[in-house]
């Protein structure tokens, strides 16, 4: 019992914000796992990161408009997906250039929107909550949106699972088998955008890519079979979020006393730890770490 108490500080399980955070974190990590593994396999983890930057613009616009931040995250990620799809036909070097410029512009726009909402509307703390988030502060009003984003994302991945894998591993073979790779790619980008929006809601726009790609990269170091890797990614993601919540709750008694450390810090730190451990393990077993794309 005393060990349980040492790990879970008193009141952990009866705490309202903790209960909501545990459920929310698990749902989001579970959605991010398959989408993240596909992102790494398709070499689109940078797209995930790009969405993360773009979502900060949507999140800050939502704060300024006084609507749920998850709507802003989702709308801007969708816009990002659409523009990325539009740019997809162009050459790679050109695409990097355009993406980099657009991302810089998006973050600059977030700076303006956040400035406006803190100086004009008194939404104190908007900067921290949009960029770095706190799963403890996610209002229960967001639940319908979480469902509305998470379920279709999983459904899209499930519906296009085999063609997605095939076009990820071998585009030529997929084309020969008659896979409509453009349609499949667009479906995947939509799922990716939805997952980024969910991750942004949980750990903030800037860090969302860590929850999306981190567990997936670690999982692909443990198993190269996509299905198994997705299961691993889910386990690693949920463990990171839950352990992060426990640590954040415990940190209340750490210095500076009575404040608590940001939960997003713990989640991302744990994801990083899992990734480092997985790479070290893969190295020792002579396997090439599949997560190098991250």
């Amino acid at each position: 019992m005393s060990i349980v108490h040492a790990v879970f500080a008193p009141g952990f399980f009866s705490n309202g914000p903790v209960q909501a955070a545990l459920v929310m974190g698990a749902v989001v990590a579970a959605v991010c796992a398959p989408v993240g593994v596909l992102a790494v396999l398709r070499g689109q983890s940078f797209a995930g990161h790009a969405f993360a930057d773009i979502t900060s613009t949507g999140g800050s616009a939502a704060v300024l408009l006084g609507i749920s931040p998850v709507l802003g995250f989702a709308a801007s990620a969708a816009a990002g997906a659409a523009s990325m799809e539009g740019l997809g036909a162009r050459q790679h070097g050109d695409r990097d250039l355009v993406t980099g410029t657009v991302l810089g512009g998006a973050l600059g726009l977030s700076a303006l929107l956040l400035y406006l909402s803190t100086t004009r509307q008194g939404t104190s703390g908007a900067t921290v909550s949009v960029l770095f988030g706190s799963v403890f502060a996610v209002s229960s009003a967001n639940w319908p949106w979480v469902a509305a984003l998470g379920l279709p994302a999983l459904a899209l991945v499930a519906a296009a699972y085999r063609p997605l894998l095939l076009s990820s591993v071998s585009p030529e073979l997929a084309a020969a088998r008659g896979v409509r790779s453009h349609l499949v790619g667009a479906m995947y980008l939509a799922a990716l955008a939805a997952s980024v929006a969910l991750a942004a809601l949980t750990i903030g726009a800037v860090l969302s890519t860590a929850l999306l790609v981190g567990p997936a990269a670690a999982a692909l170091g443990l198993s190269s079979r996509p299905g198994r890797a997705m299961a691993w990614a889910g386990a690693i993601g949920v463990t990171s979020v839950w352990a992060g919540i426990v640590l954040a709750y415990d940190s209340y008694s750490w210095p500076p006393a009575g404040r608590g450390w940001p939960v997003s810090f713990f989640v991302v730190a744990l994801v990083m730890a899992f990734y480092a451990a997985s790479r070290a393990g893969a190295h020792r077993h002579g396997r090439s770490p599949a997560g190098k794309a991250a």
């Binding site: 500080a9 009141g11 009866s14 705490n15 309202g16 914000p17 903790v18 955070a21 803190t118 100086t119 004009r120 509307q121 008194g122 939404t123 104190s124 703390g125 908007a126 900067t127 921290v128 909550s129 706190s134 403890f136 502060a137 996610v138 209002s139 954040a248 709750y249 209340y252 009575g258 404040r259 608590g260 940001p262």
Partner: protein
């Protein structure tokens, strides 16, 4: 074309200044830059583009006959201090306020170039201190006229070292000290009007009596009333009313500083509200975020009345005294009749 654009820009600035309720230091006339315009009503009276240029010239021409040259230029970093300066200084001061938009959290305020030029011309500055308006120190250090007098309210009040609550103007003891200091500094700047300033400072102190009485009456009728707050904004007034703030202090500081409060403190606050262990929830009208919105929702569900308090003076329509009276009345209504007051 350039002149027209300058003129338009000038009217924009005048309009901005008037909207903010400031009454001093209008920008220099673009046509005759050496002549500052001092007739906002006249300057704004002509709004149409056709008449803009003519009006600007006329406005500048009028300045020479303006008799306001002897006024002390003063700035209150917060509009409640500006209000006290103008009540004490009367017709011999031109006061403007830096922070006074009721929709904005003063903690998030950032200094602009326009403000820097205003501060560089002010002879008297009243600021809160305790890091609440730290940007003022930078502006004063950057450029200030020789002999500029700066009153730091925290230095008058001597709050306990390490106090976490910078909202000194909610304490009944604060403003009489500020009025006294303002009268002293104005006398130093304009010795011939010393008696006038002193008289007005005394009148200001006397005008606080109804507020002090209302606080004492509340303390007597409802001693030790348990209350919850989102921020320490009105904590000094609550202490004067002998109310007990049950909200954990770290939660108040976290919301004030714009960071997410710990789940422990959020749960503690929720249980105060849900189990009716407090008679009222006071929240800062100027600072809203998902966390405070959650507390408001919990309070409404549980039937705990909520009272919105202001961080800076809600203007127009209020002076310091009537603002403080309105806050106490709202508190009494909530505790006596369970009535909520969301902004006034």
């Amino acid at each position: 074309m350039l002149v027209l654009r300058l003129v338009l820009r000038y009217y924009e600035l005048v309009a901005q200044r008037v909207r903010q309720g400031g009454s001093r230091g209008f920008p220099a006339c673009p046509v005759h830059p050496s002549l500052p315009a001092r007739r906002p009503a006249l300057a704004l009276g002509v709004g149409t583009c056709l008449l803009v240029t003519a009006a600007a010239v006329a406005g500048c021409g009028r300045v020479a006959t303006g008799a306001a040259g002897a006024r002390v230029r003063a700035i209150g970093a917060e509009n409640e201090y500006a209000n006290v300066i103008s009540q004490v200084g009367g017709r011999y001061v031109q006061v403007s306020a830096v922070m006074g938009n009721p929709d904005v959290d003063p903690h998030d305020f950032e200094a602009s170039a326009r403000l820097a030029s205003e501060v560089s011309q002010a002879q008297l500055v009243v600021q809160n201190g305790l890091g609440y308006d730290g940007f003022m120190n930078k502006l004063e250090a950057a450029a200030s006229p020789p002999g500029q007098r700066v009153v730091v309210v925290a230095d008058l009040v001597h709050p306990r070292p390490g106090t976490f609550n910078p909202h000194l103007w909610y304490s009944p003891a604060t403003m009489p000290l500020v009025a006294g200091a303002v009268a002293r500094e104005l006398t130093r700047l304009q010795p011939s009007h010393g008696a006038y300033f002193e008289e007005r400072a005394r009148a200001f102190d006397a005008s606080l009596a109804p507020w002090h009485k209302a606080l004492a009456a509340f303390a007597k009728a409802y001693p030790g009333t348990p209350v919850a707050v989102t921020e320490p904004v009105a904590d000094f007034m609550l202490a004067a009313a002998r109310a007990r703030v049950l909200t954990p202090r770290p939660l108040q500081t976290a919301v004030m500083d714009g960071i997410d409060p710990s789940p422990q403190d959020v749960a503690a606050q929720d249980s105060l509200l849900a189990h009716h262990r407090v008679k009222v929830l006071l929240y800062n009208v100027q600072v809203t975020d998902p966390v405070t919105a959650g507390f408001l929702a919990t309070a409404r569900r549980a039937g705990v009345p909520v009272v919105g308090v202001y961080e800076t003076m809600p203007a127009p329509g209020y002076d310091y005294q009537s603002w403080m009276m309105a806050e106490v009345r709202a508190l009494s209504r909530a505790v006596a009749h369970g009535r909520s007051t969301v902004g006034f």
